[in-house]
Amino acid sequence: MNTVNVSRRRFLQSSAVAGGGLVVGFTLSGCSSAPAPLPVATTEGAWTPNAFLQVLPDNTIRFYTARSEMGQGVTTGLSTLVGEELDVNPLDMEIRLASVHEDYVNPDFGMQGTGGSSSIHAHYLQLRQVGANTRALILEAAAQDLGVPTNALTTDNGFVIHGDARYPYAQFVNTAQTLTITADAPLKPVTEFQYIGKETRRVDAIAKSTGTAEFGLDVDVPGMHYAVVVRPPVARAKALSFDASAAKTMSGVTDVVEVGSGVAVVAKTFWQAQQAAKNVAVEWESVALDRVSTASLRADYAAALDAGDGVEAPNDGDVASALSGAVTTLQAEYWAPLLSHSPMEPVNAVVRIEGEYADVWTGIQFPSAVPGLVSRVADIPTENVRFHQCYLGGGFGRRGTPTHLVEATQIAVATGKPIQLVWTRENDIQQGPFRPASLMRIKAGVDHDGKLIAWDAARAGGDISPDTFRSLLPALYSWMGDGMVEGVANISEWYFENFVTDESSTEGLFEDYDHPNTRVTHMTVDHELPLTFWRSVGHSSTAFAKESMIDELAHAAGVDEVTFRLQNTRNNPRLNNVIRVAGEHMAKMNPPAGHFLGFAAHHSFRTDVAEIAEVSVEAGKIRVHKVTCVLDCGQAVNPDIVRAQMEGGIVYGLTAALYGELNLSQGAITESNFHDYPILRMDESPEIEVIIIDSGTQPTGVGEPGLPPIAPAVANAVFKATGQRLRDLPLKLA
């Protein structure tokens, strides 16, 4: 075994190597050589062996969760990984939400970000190694203190065991701090797991059931004032002038200041700020988006598809000749509209600036963005920005965009007051950033054996990467001026329009099936709408097009939908197996008269999922009674949370499938709140059964992959029920 000095930095780096080459310790700025101090609690007598763990004198084991908890259960999942090897029950740990530090980066991203259903996959070996190394050190210290050989000792949930005696880990931390650490303590074999793969509850459930979990909106600091921003009806329009004289006379109002995105009204309470904001008259500039409606946007996409002069990737084989030789060919067009994420907690942030220091409280998916953005706006050193992560009241991609932090900091600077900025629900639904709309055309051919031989797919719509650059570059690169940031974003737009497809624009449109002749063409059409990731990103649209077309082809070829999929996914054995297992379940189902089963399968975020929707159409209304979900996500670290994520992805996807659409009129979003942007409610929520295939591989994603198959599964069932192929989302019967 290697031994190294028990320096925290080297401990982690060595752990990372032992953990399979995961990159830990990536420095964002690249310009500081000394590691920043760990942003952990300075509890008296606490031992901090690394960035993730503290052992307190009363034997409390404190765990710092590096990924953002937005409901996906990552506090439970990551504490289970470290607890498995440390031998501490995750439900007995004290869970803290980590601040910003290089040791907390997502090994998949090289920065502190939570998304892409990556957390468990990315930290699976790293955090287990952290737990194993720490336990080995405690055992070595215990052996020395007790005067017995290490192999005479075992552990049990935070205690060292010697014969009948139990000693708390905390008893040995003084000695542990003097020892060298084993960098590659052996990890447990899967057969010895006591927490991973077992049914466990959630570490955050009691706090979240008693109103004691602190979300960003719950933060309350002395002297805090509340801000609401009057925003343009059309995205990104700037205020030309405004009249706040009426608002300023209203009760509680202390300040009205212009910020980059609109006019901020500041008051002693949120209610006062919100009421006063209605009394600010603003003249907005005209922008190009003013002339865009839903119909014109879609017509622009259709024209781009007709022109067909986009970026081709991939372009394998000879699609044109394969199509001409096919026995069955079909062509169809599919539409997915603009969507809002609408997390239940509206976006918000608290910013307090005192001299050269700032404190920031918010729940955010990209904590790495916080110090850079706040220091840039407040003109203070990056290292003086103290970030306090909160629970996220839903993320779904929305909390990856940090523009509200810029606004809150601008208002705090302008007023000199601690500020809580709150987006109203109307702001949330109307201002974006949105899930991009997509118009997709697929032309496909099948030979006489029922084999897919040609797949010619095209998508027109906006790309999300340019806006990602706009929001994150100023945070990550303090030397970049605003003009340069905009320049880079504009160059990226030009690049995606002409040279390379933005991956999230076509992901999921072509990868799952075996078609030797494949062409994907992408036409970027940019209307300057703010766009971003939305749960399952490109897959949320492309799976609908792909799985609807597959179903249409199977029907046209006279092959049942499961057999057709099995025949054409032999190159993707894990997806093939998921389809096979789901097909076996479907064959045993006996839906009541008037109920029909629709099938869909999709690979996303390294995970394979098939879903069967039991649907009826009654009085012109689509009702989804039951959904059966079969998935392979490798090792399920917490099977109950895997089930919960499938349930959640299905319900979120059903809202989109049955209701979700934002419409544009003269550039403005016409929907505003839950009365006209409806969300699926309990009385419409189906029974959901989740079947997890244990394939024994390392964990793959679960936060997003449950969503993509549900819309096509429902649409394919509606076809059986009515004979109507619904190719527009949301699904509306003719």
């Binding site: 996906q72 979240k208 059931s209 309350d220 309470t269 629900r425």
Partner: protein
């Protein structure tokens, strides 16, 4: 001056009488468990009990609760003294992001007060005013059913080995 009972304590406030109860409870009395979701009575995140009835408080002026009894999630139970529904929420791993759950639990508690043995349809009807964006509905339903009177009676017979 408006006086009312908040979690069994007499309180008074001199805020503008049209201020929604939600904001008085959150900003003036600093109880942050009840949430702001829509501001229009559409999502239920702000649900509290007013004289035992589940009410959406983001659209309820504080003047309307003068002399009445208001219970929030903090008054229902605490981490050390959980209400049976809160214990069931833990047992069935109901919450995901958790933001809507205070409102969900308050709506469920009011339902069980008035109907200790709700049917599935009763639960749907009582709970469909509360949106959960994470999609916890199947678990919310299961958790409510687990603390219905008949389920608890069944549990008691199983525990004591008696007969139903």
């Amino acid at each position: 001056m408006i006086e009312f009972t908040l979690n069994e304590q007499q309180v008074s406030t001199d805020v503008s009488p049209d201020t929604p109860l939600l904001w008085v409870v959150r900003d003036n009395f600093k109880l942050k468990g009840s949430k702001f979701g829509c501001g229009a009575g559409l999502c239920g995140a702000c649900t509290m009990h007013i004289d035992g009835v589940a009410i959406k408080t983001c659209v309820t002026p504080v003047a309307a609760v003068a002399g009445k009894s208001v219970t929030t999630i903090e008054g229902l139970g605490t981490p050390d003294d959980l209400h049976p529904l809160q214990a069931a929420w833990h047992e069935y791993a109901v919450p995901q992001c958790g933001y809507c759950q205070s409102g969900q639990i308050m709506a469920a508690a009011a339902l069980l007060e008035s109907n200790p043995n709700p049917s599935g349809a009763d639960i749907d009807a009582a709970m469909s005013g509360n949106i959960c964006r994470c999609g916890c509905y199947p678990r919310i339903k299961r958790a409510i059913q687990s603390v219905s009177e008949s389920a608890l009676a069944y549990d008691a017979t199983v525990t004591t080995g008696g007969q139903a």
